[in-house]
């Protein structure tokens, strides 16, 4: 039971990171109908920018908790801005010239962009794994069990609280942005019918650009959280995390924001429980097999609308 609760906490933390990346996939797929293959690598760039800024600020565990959180918010803002510029540029360079072209073309440029970003980071920052000392230390003990095998303590660390709180507040903020602002309205209009949206005076190019910017900013948040949670990053983290986040987006129903978050949580929980109870080597297989199963049996996802095929 205690072990289960501990894994549940870990799974929710991991899942909220996947959920943040999944939002980027779901928004872009909803509006342009393409898999933004480079999105996972934008997440990786966000993590690297966060690492660089943290090192530049000289943040360590000995910095006080309040000051650390303030500094981390600064780190968050900087890496969101930089990642947004990356997202915007990728769309401008690789996807916009091919809009309206046949469907495979942007997918190929997306794979190309993903290769470019990975190798760019590998060259500029080196191929070795980058470790980061924990910044927020400490935690709270929730449960304690003493039996013949020894003591088992269920803990939630301050880091996990920070990750979950930041993720969920950003989620709320983002949902409001899509539901209430004119940008959100423009975006939903473009998602339904790009041509009609353009006819009613919506700047489609700008809306699509902003979608990429928002997705990239959220991916950067996920990047910082990933960095804080695992403490190590390298230039290749974007690929696997990207595929899992895409699985999350599909699982939740592509195009649906709460769906992406829910899908992220489910994938995070599956991965954590699989590693905890079965085998850690095959945790990626579990996530990938989940993707195949979902697409086969529930192609519209948990919260998505079924796609109607028109002739």
């Amino acid at each position: 039971m205690e072990y289960f609760v501990q894994q549940l906490i870990n799974g929710v933390t991991l899942g909220s990171i996947y959920g943040l990346i999944a939002i980027g996939y779901t928004l872009v797929y909803g509006i342009v109908g393409m898999i933004n293959f480079a999105h996972g690598d934008i997440f990786m760039v966000g993590a690297f920018v966060a690492l660089i800024v943290i090192t530049a600020l000289g943040l360590t565990a000995s910095t006080g908790l309040g000051l650390s959180i303030l500094a981390l918010i600064l780190v968050l803002v900087i890496s969101m801005i930089v990642a947004s510029v990356y997202g915007w540029t990728v769309e401008r360079v690789a996807y916009r010239p091919l809009r309206g072209s046949f469907r495979l073309a942007p997918l190929i440029t997306a794979i190309g962009m993903s290769i470019v970003l990975q190798n760019f980071v590998q060259i500029s920052q080196g191929a070795r794994v980058k470790p980061l000392q924990p910044i927020i230390s400490g935690g709270h003990t929730l449960m304690r069990k003493v039996d013949a095998q020894g003591e088992f303590v269920v803990q939630i660390s301050n880091m996990q609280i920070f990750i979950i709180v930041v993720t969920f507040s950003l989620m709320v903020l983002f949902t409001l942005l899509i539901a209430k602002t004119s940008l959100g309205r423009a975006q939903r209009a473009c998602e339904q019918d790009t041509k009609m949206a353009a006819l009613s005076g919506i700047n489609v190019d700008r809306t699509i650009s902003l979608t990429f910017v928002l997705g990239a900013a959220l991916a950067a948040v996920a990047g910082l959280m990933f960095l804080l949670y695992y403490g190590v990053i390298d230039f290749f983290i974007g690929f696997v995390a990207g595929v899992k986040a895409f699985t999350a987006a599909v699982l939740g129903g592509i195009g649906s924001l709460p769906g992406a978050m829910l899908g992220g949580l489910v994938i995070g929980l599956i991965e954590t429980f699989w590693s905890a109870y079965f085998s850690i080597e095959y945790k990626d297989v579990a996530a990938f097999a989940m993707l195949a199963l979902v697409l086969i049996f529930l192609p519209q996802g948990l919260l998505g609308k079924p796609e109607v095929e028109k002739v």
């Binding site: 920052q125 195949a292 192609p299």
Partner: protein
């Protein structure tokens, strides 16, 4: 309505360049300007501002040059009033060139090992190029003809390679016995993996095939007692000339034919082996295209709903394309294993799938000649940039993006129709909806 005064050209140019430099500064400033280095007890930063500023300068100057040359053409200057779809000069020219080039290339490929300038290095490189040509032709059946986007093609390549390695090592089967078995096993896996996922469309199919490719790789990596895990399988038997081994011993290839032993014999044999396999792939594809099954593939690519309403069983049609493509990947895998003598999951990563797909798409999907050109260009390009090993994947990715933007339909976008009235006329690729994966 009040007309706004047009901004002067100079002013908009300056604004554009300033914006560019700001964006380039954000992109390169942090990533290039500050390098993280691992030191005992944490990380240290090494500033490299000069390098970052140099890159920014290159970007801005590059954009300025583009503004002054390429982008200054009058709008519509390059446009033609011939409707898209009518064969243009480019398509016609390429088609003519291909007609002449095809026999010439074949003769060149057949005589290459005997040409005076050919050395070991060139032969090895040619074998590598031909392996990718074969993989490209195999994938072309799936992507180019049937229009199914497969991002996990390398999984079947891996199945073929491991089938040969395990059968040859554990049972001592010869290469010629293993080759068809590898192909059949790969096709079998194509059917197993294909069956559940083939009702998915387009991008979804792509991502599931990608997931399957990764699953196969992870299983190979972790199934230690069977596949050797990350250590891979070594000591895979080398090919022999229909039972005659390539060695100095009496009864070997050189001894039997009474020629002097040379280590090059095996390489030349491998070269002809992969050439024959590749040509077989091409021949089978071209024949299949004319058969009902090939026509069904192409019809499926164009419109799945129409196919279904005409009574085609789309599942069978898709599965046959998937299995045929997988079979050729299995052959290529068996060849790869016998050539290398060592295989490990490292050789079957997603990058490999992306490379083969890039060859097919950049060449112009469905075009056999395009695959050859793209394979020579990409693999040859890889070799040219060998000195800059660090940068070659970066250049490869950039090339992929740029070629796609320049020619979204691939280098050879013309299509020769399978069925025609009177003369066989090539049409522009804009007329076919390649790989929409409906």
């Amino acid at each position: 309505m009040v007309l706004m005064a047009p901004r002067s050209a100079l002013r908009s140019l300056v604004t554009d360049l300033v914006t560019t430099s700001v964006i380039a500064l954000v992109i390169f400033g942090v990533m290039v300007g500050l390098k993280t280095d691992t030191i005992p007890g944490g990380l240290a930063l090494t500033p490299r501002w000069l390098a970052a500023l140099e890159i920014v300068a290159v970007v801005v100057v590059g954009r300025l040059i583009l503004h002054l040359t390429w982008w200054r053409r009058k709008p519509g200057a390059g446009a033609s009033w011939v409707p898209a779809g009518i064969a243009t000069g480019w398509t016609q020219g390429i088609a003519l060139l291909a007609k002449v080039a095809r026999p010439a290339l074949l003769v060149f490929a057949l005589t290459l090992p005997f040409l005076p300038f050919t050395d070991r290095y060139l032969l090895d490189l040619s074998i590598l190029v031909l392996t990718y040509v074969m993989l490209g032709w195999g994938l072309n059946i799936v992507v180019g003809l049937a229009g199914l986007l497969d991002l996990g093609y390398v999984a079947f390549y891996a199945v073929g390679a491991y089938s040969y390695a395990l059968l040859a090592q554990n049972f001592g089967w010869s290469f010629w016995l293993c080759l068809p078995v590898s192909g059949i096993l790969a096709a079998f896996w194509g059917i197993i993996l294909g069956f559940p996922v083939l009702r998915l469309r387009g991008d979804y199919l792509a991502i599931v095939t990608l997931a399957f490719g990764e699953i196969v790789r992870i299983v190979l990596l972790n199934w230690y007692w069977f596949t050797g895990g990350p250590d891979g399988l070594s000591g895979i038997p080398r090919p022999d000339f229909f039972g005659l081994p390539f060695d100095r011993a009496p009864g070997g290839f050189a001894d039997t034919f009474g020629i002097e032993y040379s280590s090059l014999h095996r390489i030349v044999f491998l070269y002809f082996l992969i050439l024959a396999l590749a040509l077989l792939t091409n021949y089978v594809t071209m024949r299949l295209r004319r058969l009902p099954i090939g026509r069904a593939w192409e019809a499926l690519r164009e419109d799945e709903i129409a196919c279904r309403s005409l009574g085609l069983n789309t599942t069978t049609v898709k599965l046959s394309a998937f299995a045929t493509g997988a079979m050729f990947a299995g052959f290529a895998g068996a060849f790869f294993a016998t050539r290398q003598g060592f295989i490990s999951p490292e050789s079957f990563t997603f990058t490999e799938s992306a490379l083969v797909l890039a060859i097919v798409v950049l060449g112009g999907m469905g075009s056999q000649m395009g695959v050859v050109i793209a394979a020579v260009a990409l693999i040859g390009g890889f070799e040219v940039f060998r000195e800059f090993a660090q940068y070659r994947m970066l250049i490869f990715g950039l090339a992929m993006v740029l070629i796609m933007i320049w020619k979204p339909r691939g280098l050879i976008s013309g299509r020769v129709p399978s069925i025609f009235l009177g003369a066989r006329k090539p049409v522009s690729g804009d007329l076919v909806s390649q790989g929409e994966g409906h």
